[in-house]
Point group: C2
Chain length 409, copies 2
């Protein structure tokens, strides 16, 4: 385990660690015209296609070329037995001859996203948004503790970490007629995405306790949000253009098998959920998260704060008989904790702009300005943690000005 062989006194971000043989997250690398699936080991990518061609994966039943399709979907569809065998082989194999330095590759979007669903599963976040947007009423709506509230987002605009984020235009309410202009209230949402490897048939719902038969792993996810566009458009059918311009995910999918030591039962749910949402196994994940804005850490929180688990989210998505598919992506919703320093959106951190954030460069921020860079990071455990040390890497994006529009519109 890397955490014991490569200890570090400079903190979890300072060294390329937490990417040992107990982690081995999956991604897709581009090197010139070639794309190949890989797992990360330290600062290197293990070229799985090269390993397969060299016979190093002969003990796993894999189709030829499964790691050269440009995305992981075909591999993910092979199911948890194959995932586990691959992992077991990789943990023991001699990988020296198939290592490619990360500096020599670009990471691309690791999956073709089938359906993207975004949830709203942090009680702290939902309460904060209620208090901010509807200060005179009960912050949690009547459905919130009965089901994991969620909606479909745009699968086609999920992008890999590092993709620039152009400030979107939209219709925004004003004193008179609404105005079509670049958003002035560009926000982030710190989330964790669950990647579905094995889908389900129409009519066959997935029980929460069967989640590990379907869930391949997790990524960090930034649900970029334009709050002024959202405010004008969202009634009665929900957010649309305020969210659909871009959703960033981290390039390395951390396997559920890698984070099993960090699964926990979560907080008690009162009232007891409806039968289709019940689970007896621990499906919350003790994953530490942080938000970095232009080099300043502006939030440190934990995915363990969530009210609804990823397993309950999956049970909900299929609860009406809808099928799940390989490549489905379930966003957790903004991860916020109970304290001011543990919130996952600028809306909450600045309380709708009332309390600007002080950054290390001496500037302040309410919402994002052009040129700002946001980096999400995550890890389970760390140096000295008996459960291990599993890094999620980074989910980063830099805000670009709104594109020039001929004619000034």
């Amino acid at each position: 385990m890397s955490s014991s062989t490569w200890p570090s006194s400079t903190g979890w971000r300072a060294v390329p660690d937490g990417f040992g043989r107990d982690n081995l997250p999956f991604g897709v690398c581009r090197q010139g015209d070639r794309r190949f699936a890989a797992v990360r080991l330290g600062d290197a990518a293990v070229d799985l296609d090269a390993l397969q061609r060299a016979g190093g994966l002969r003990d796993v039943d894999l189709p030829a070329g499964v790691f050269t399709t440009g995305v992981l979907n075909d591999y993910l569809a092979l199911g948890p037995g194959t995932w586990a065998r691959t992992r077991a082989v990789l943990q023991e194999a001699d990988l020296d001859r198939v290592l490619v330095p990360l500096a020599d590759v670009d990471m691309v979007l690791p999956i073709e996203v089938a359906d993207y669903v975004d949830f709203y599963s942090s009680e702290h976040h939902a309460r904060n948004m209620g208090l901010i947007l509807r200060p005179d009423t009960e912050p949690l709506l009547p459905n919130w503790k009965r089901l994991p509230v969620g909606y479909h987002g745009r699968a086609g605009t999920v992008v890999v970490s590092g993709t620039p984020i152009a400030r979107p235009r939209g219709l925004v309410a004003g004193d008179g007629e609404p105005e079509w202009r670049p958003t002035r209230v560009l926000d982030i949402e710190l989330e964790v995405g669950t990647v579905i490897g094995v889908g389900s048939a129409m009519g066959a719902r997935i029980r929460a306790d069967d989640a590990d038969g379907h869930v391949f792993g997790f990524v960090l996810l930034d649900d970029w949000s334009a709050r002024d566009i959202q405010a004008f458009e969202y009634q009665p059918l929900g957010p649309f253009l305020a969210k659909s311009f871009a959703t960033s995910i981290s390039p390395w999918i951390v396997m559920l098998d890698a984070v099993r030591p960090f699964l926990s039962a979560g907080h008690p749910q009162v009232p007891e959920p409806a039968p289709y949402l019940r689970s007896t196994r621990p499906w919350h994940l003790d994953l530490d998260l942080e938000v970095d804005l232009n080099g300043t850490t502006v939030s440190c929180t934990s995915f363990g704060h969530m009210y609804w688990s990823f397993a309950q989210q999956l049970a909900h998505v299929t609860g009406n008989g809808a099928r799940a598919r390989t490549g489905d992506l379930l966003g957790s919703g903004t991860v916020s904790g109970p304290e001011p320093g543990t919130r996952g959106s600028l809306m909450e951190m600045t309380w709708r702009g009332r309390d600007p954030l002080a950054l290390a460069d001496g500037t302040t921020r309410t919402f994002l300005e052009d040129g700002d860079t946001v980096v999400l990071r995550g890890r389970c455990g760390g140096p000295g943690d008996a459960r291990g040390w599993i890094e999620f890497g980074e989910c980063a994006g830099t805000v670009l000005p709104a594109p020039h529009e001929p004619g000034g519109v």
Copy 2:
């Protein structure tokens, strides 16, 4: 043109007409293990793969095997120049040797749906729903005439006409705790779906007047809806499980080129839309629609009643810089006209159940019962119409009981 060569005095549904050389809609047929793309001609499918292999499409620049992938996406991505050349060749070609009787094939879902967006673009429908659900307030919300209100639906549960529709379960409000049970308020929504052939790059929005560079064609679409599930879940993020269990589309995609004679300017829009939604070309479609419930025609309406055009919907989807993709599907929203007999949902037809429908078999309906069959039909023009006669065929579905749940839940 079939309408002049095969006139009929028995009405437009009685004969397999409106599928002449001026129509030629695209679909995908299954015959045994084989799937092939086809256009419909009368009661036959023109096997496009067989035609291509026989050299009948040599004047069109087509990749080998483009009609055997099982979906039309690769063909659609070739763009409007290729679509138009294919159509021109097919209108003149000798097709006798590549005709397959429709009775000998099954129709499958013609596209892999990329993102599915459902709009709400009928003013009559939006007003009716406002009057029914919020009787004491202005029925149209402030955003409704400023932008085409819409949201993302579930792409993975779009199914082809004829697929049975299992009654979905969901959480429904009651006197005390919400109850998880099969919906008691299962409804239809009569819609028209726009199929995108050519997408756009991130950041490059599509102008409404450029719609014909991107839109391949149209299908009939039934947005099955569970109103009780919807009422409990939809705040604040919009409809989710109430809609995601199934969306049916007709199997034959009618090309935009086939219905150009039926494009019209639509009703004036007041206030004038924002610049990104403006168009100067006619993008409304004079398409007659009807809803059949167990053999009784319960609604006759027109797609020309819509407030927002499909071109404006496409401009809106990409207005924030989101990319469009080959296979994107844009639902129009329920098509309702101004009169009682022209409404596109049972919610409106029965005014939330107050006014049951009398069916020809002597029964009445408020919402759908198990075993009910709904058929949507559509056509442009008809016998004797100087603009021609373009049939859309049928979009059908039969309601099955909710699946048995072990343990009674």
